[in-house]
Amino acid sequence: MAYDFGDNFYSNGETSSSSNSSFFDTFTNDNKNLDFSTDTNLRELQSIVGSEVSLPDLENLWNASSGNLEKAINSYFDNNMNKENLDMNTQTSSRRNAKSTNYHENDVEVPRKKARKNVARDWERKYLGSIVVSGQSTITGENVINFKDKITFESQVYYQKPIRGRKRSKLQSCWQSTVLKFKSANGMQLGIINDSKISFMVSNLIDAGVCEFEGQILLVGNDNCGEKIELNDEMYIEMKIYILHAAFSREPIFSISRENNKYMASGPASVADHKANDRKIAVLSMFEQCGMKARQSSVLTQEHKLAGTLDAEKIEEHFQNEEWTGFKSASSIQQSLFPPNDEEGPSISDQQLNALYEKAQMADMNIPECEPPAHTFLYSLRRYQKQALHWMLSKETLDPNQLTPTSLHPLWEEYEFPVQIYHETGEMIDDGFSNKLFYFNPYTGELSLDFQKVDQCRGGILADEMGLGKTIEILSLIHSVKYPAIDPNQVDVVDLTEEIKPSTVRHVSLSTYEAYPKIKTTLIVCPMSLLSQWRDEVHNVSAPDTMTVEVYYGKKRNWDLKAIRARKVDLPDVLVTTYGVLMSEFSDEENKPATSPLFNVEFLRVVLDEAHVIKSRNTKTAKACYSLRAERRWALTGTPIQNRLEDIFSLVHFLRHEPWSNFQFWKKYIQNPFDKKDLRALGVVQGVLEPLVLRRTKNMRDINGQPIIDLPSKEVEIEYLEFSPEEQDIYDSIYTHSKTKFNYYVKSGSILSHYAHIFQLLVRLRQVCDHPILAISKHTIINEDDEEGVNDLAFDEEGNLNIDHLIERFMTNYGERGNSANYQIEMLEKLKYGEDFSNRECPICYDNLVNGVLMPCMHSACRQCIMEYFQNQELLGKSGQCPVCRRGPITENDLLDISKKNEEKPSSGTSSNTNDNDNDMTTFEESDANLKLSAKLGALLRKLNNLRQENKMTEKCVIFSQFTSMLDLIGDVLAKENFSFVRLDGTQQQSDRERVLRDFKKPGIDIILISLRAGGVGLNLTAASRAFLMDPWWNSSIEDQAVDRVHRIGQKREVRVTRFIIKNSIEEKMLSIQKRKNAIACGLGMSKDELKAHRIEDLRELFS
């Protein structure tokens, strides 16, 4: 059908809006004499305004409109009927009119328009398409509507009381409905649009300022167009859609930041977010209605569209839902406001893990090999290591195709503005303006006129199993890409061995001030225990003078940022530092940028060793790592996922692998489906990891079916021992005592709040299994050698009690009371970062803290001193309080144990017992006669003596225990039996550790004593081939890791491992829990409560 598009047709009506009302009045008066019975009229009215409106209300409405049906309807929708609305507890809010320009009726529009005008651009709006919709007349009369009449649209939202009986949340005390009205050019309401989907779309687009709509009447349903029109007559309307320039220049709703990690603290979902969601759905729906297809869209997005996860189809869902108008229920808002604690996420099972890696591993076999530059790199790589090198090089070198402007950000789609077609002539008109394309983010609803390019991540996760030589692989990479030119196109993977002249080295202008100077250095971040190993390895693999390495640790931290900016210093090729240093130099306060040089240069490459350290994305360490600037990023870890799927998100985020490094996105498409046990999520993760992860395991075979590495076999035996009668007595008594306490907690329902104490009880029991003497010093907390004290006091993932929780507890209980908050925070920081408190002076005995405790006010004292004081107070009928600041009341339960090790100093509390207070340990050492071997010590000694007799100690031994006090005992025994040994534990300085490890490699030293937690990572102990694990750990993987320090590349002998377990003791129960744990984790995704229940179950089992 042909029709005219005359813009000026109704220009009169538009400009003289003042005359509208009189015109309207005349019109209605003319129709007043239409003869309907009141009853019929009311029903008619009801059928239009909706059955929710009660008859009396309608009568009021009718009377108020002086018996005029149109007026009644219009006034209902126009909200003139105040009484009615008040009764209904409804409000109406007039939405902005859709009419394009100079429409004065809605004053609200004007200031907004003005604001928009300020934006420099050459177009106001662009035509997107037109659709035909059906409407329903709300007027009657003759010659009211003409074919091709111009109309405007206006939406109105009604907040109404919900219909009784329907479920609703508290927050949603009313529900909304959107009515889309259309009016004639002179402002008279003609009808409403039937299609609620269209109404929703149009109102949201108008409301969000995205689009403008123009329409004209095509057809009136009763076919007597131009003559009489009845109420409810169907009308067909053409609706032209224009997208406003302003829609593109708006602030993004929630921005997908690629630079910062601000959004990492997942912002609270607000009403604004829901509005944004509505807008997104409306835009998608509009594209669908207009038949617009994305010119470019990532495969992923297409999949999601197909899957309906973001499609306009959602609207259907939306409408079926009671809350379709855009307000989520209170519960969902609450959920988004208070996201469930991340730490409690369901853990991931081994099977799932295997499935995750499977895909990543499949392609790995066929990776070509690549040789490192032979003249600088001295080691010869194994085949799979050469493959790793090739893979890493290809990951670091950007695909040139990806660099062209066609590489669209994976979250965005590209659309083309349609040209406006004049139906009359069929002629296509090019408006001649700029911007032929625009971009839409279907995940956030953002629109943009600018091309959204992707920051491609250069790097990946090298997840080879422990012992395959990740260190060597990375070093070969550093050697291969030592001086890349700044232009990636010039980097030729094949010719990497060719020396690139220094003149092309990352040439940057010297004259300009660089905020973040690019430097050639590769930064390696590792746990403290690996610091020297990295440095040594760099020396070992490099030909002399081909690579410089520097350690950024302790006092050697003198990087001069100014000099670096001025390019006046010789920077090393490799800089090694620790997570602890990184964290301590990092400032996560926004307005206080870190002054450390580490955060103010752009490294060539950042390598995180043992990258699972940053698995919790909210830790300061993780944030520090995210903030590092680098061209290339690598994460090395044998276990990219330790417990939870989310663990890997942190790595992906560190790598800035779009789009998955966006937490919202990750949560929506991976974490949430996974948590809901949607197995498809696994597939998605596979897809994400596949290009990002290289993982080989020790038992993998190469293309020829040969094992990729040839390790001697490993044999683990558990040796069950029995207590001696005396030991049994001690164990039984402590066990009974602990059990009583535990049962008390069970009865009072306070297990969870006494977790710390329960674990202390357990620690004591476990110590008795090693040697009863260990348990005698009472309040020893299992605070063995954690790496740099980051996990101070932590009971590990299983224990689920760590210093953060304690701190939280302390802060919530007491934090608000004091004005000494600063002091408290300072103390907490010190505590958290493992400051040694034993040098502090007790305010009571004036000696160094012995079994130091922290009070809630963060003042510290010896446990004994403070308890004595409390008892004294009790005698006086007073409650305990802090002796320093008098805050209280404090009871023994409020005291936080901060003693680092077993304090062996005699307490000097009162003079009388100074002499006989000499610690049991010393007695132990001094009088050999008293040295009674425990079951375990005896067994160990027998084994060692056998070894000595059999093979003259040609095999070196590693002895692991979690308790340094146990290591003390073993040391005493070994010394007495003339074994030569060294010892490594968490208390040692880095330099001491290095010396210990060097010594152990020398002949003559047969045994090394290692605390389990200190020896867990990175260490290379292949000099030994026998390992003894004195006590079990909660998590068998920690033990495995320790054993793998021995059983790794370089091991020539068969490795034999002995685990000592005391029969019928807590240790045996721990073993069964270890086994069961894997089984439990296999149940996909347990809820928080389930997990808690299981933990309590574990505890019950221990005390069964």
Binding site: I844, D847, C865, Y869, N872, S908
Partner: protein, 156 residues
């Protein structure tokens, strides 16, 4: 005699090494828990110009129990009675083991600066203070001259 707790040794050392102006405390050689104390009357107080002798004893329970302190010099003060006993909360129920000799003596010095007749130990003096403060202060000054100044040049 039992050995002296480390705390007392440390406190004594610190008292001597880092003396507080206007306060002088020395342990007796034969009993290190017994201290001779001199406190100089604070400026702008009725006790200005006087040096007051006190004795301080650390009981066996110290620091769980407060030290016992007594003025040896006669003093006209509403919180100090004829026998030299001092009305000071930290010497009684407000004692805390985190307090020490130094803080106790500082508190006593402060008490001289700010007599508190509302919490009296010597009722008559307190009443005098309340009824006619200038007169009471004059009397305190007179007492200071009479009893405290006498000791200034120690004769021994």
């Amino acid at each position: 005699m039992a050995t002296l707790p480390k705390r007392i040794i440390k406190e004594t050392e610190r008292l001597i090494a880092d003396a507080v102006p206007g306060i002088n405390a020395r342990p007796h050689e034969e009993n290190l828990r017994y201290f001779d104390v001199d406190i100089t009357g604070p400026e702008q107080s009725p006790f200005e110009g006087g040096v007051f002798k006190l004795e301080l004893f650390l009981p066996e329970e110290y620091p769980m129990s407060p030290p016992r302190v007594r003025f040896l010099t006669k003093i006209y003060h509403p919180n100090i009675d004829k026998l030299g006993r001092i009305c000071l909360d930290i010497l009684k129920d407000k004692w805390s083991p985190a307090l020490q000799i130094r803080t106790v003596l500082l508190s006593i010095q402060a008490l001289l600066s700010a007599p508190n007749p509302d919490d009296p130990l010597a009722n008559d003096v307190a009443q005098h203070w309340k009824d006619n403060e200038p007169e009471a202060i004059a009397k305190a000054r007179e007492w200071t001259q009479t009893y405290a100044e006498r000791i200034v040049p120690p004769q021994e």
